[in-house]
Point group: C2
Chain length 147, copies 2
């Protein structure tokens, strides 16, 4: 059963899938309250930088530095190098990952830099991603810079 | 004297300054030909993800993975964690940096991951950045997640 914390990110991922996009979603919480959600919008916007976590940060808008340092980034899939870098730039201390079976990003770098990383191994996130990857392998490879 | 390779990025940075923005610019070259430029647009778009390198990647659009692996990212200032992550995601093998006196980003991580990093120590880039930082210290701190 998907945790309540993860649900807004999972719902965003499902929304992305319904739009024909890459089904990865994210949600940003500050001091336990949800501030924004986001979803991968490569297909929808023709964007190479709107991964779910980036879209979520953009939707949150310009926050004071001190808000990010009390934040948790929740994402349905293990964050890639770019999204990891954004989390490090803004010093977000906590990342919750729905699953890392379909793709494993830069979790080690996050931990090395002192970020708490929790992996939920959520079956709904994994199923959504696996179905997508099987159906659209080249779109998925494009999203993670793979030939 | 600013190198020809750096000029489009420096001109983009100057354009950003003229708009009231943070004066950092970037340019993406693929096999020696310029593909796009970008500039930090935090102020202009209210964006927390449109650093110069990100804006430049977005302007380049959806390139095949093989184009990025023949690319050079030129930027007026040492890339932060987020922009470094984007460079690593897309496996861009070469980064040219105007200057790193005003701010030193994740150059070590780039080199560890096999990226060639050249620092030009360009005086025009440094002067542009130093003047901006002296005039708008809080805007600059916001851009790099500093309290």
């Amino acid at each position: 059963m998907t945790s309540e914390l993860l649900l807004p990110a999972l719902n965003s991922a499902r929304k992305g899938r319904a739009e024909g996009g890459i089904p990865i979603g994210a949600a940003l919480y500050v001091e336990g309250a949800i501030v924004s959600t986001g979803r991968n919008r490569r297909q929808q916007l023709g964007s190479v930088i709107r991964h779910a976590e980036m879209d979520c940060l953009e939707h949150a808008g310009r926050l004071p530095a001190g808000a990010y340092t009390k934040a948790t980034m929740v994402t349905t899939l293990s964050p890639c190098d770019m999204c990891t870098g954004a989390i490090l730039l803004y010093r977000i201390p906590h990342v919750v990952i729905g699953e890392n079976r379909s793709y494993r990003g830069a979790e080690d770098l996050l931990r090395e830099r002192g970020v708490q990383v929790d992996v939920l191994d959520d079956q709904a996130c994994t199923l959504l991603m696996q179905e997508f990857m099987a159906e659209f392998p080249s779109l998925w490879n494009e999203d993670i810079g793979v030939l």
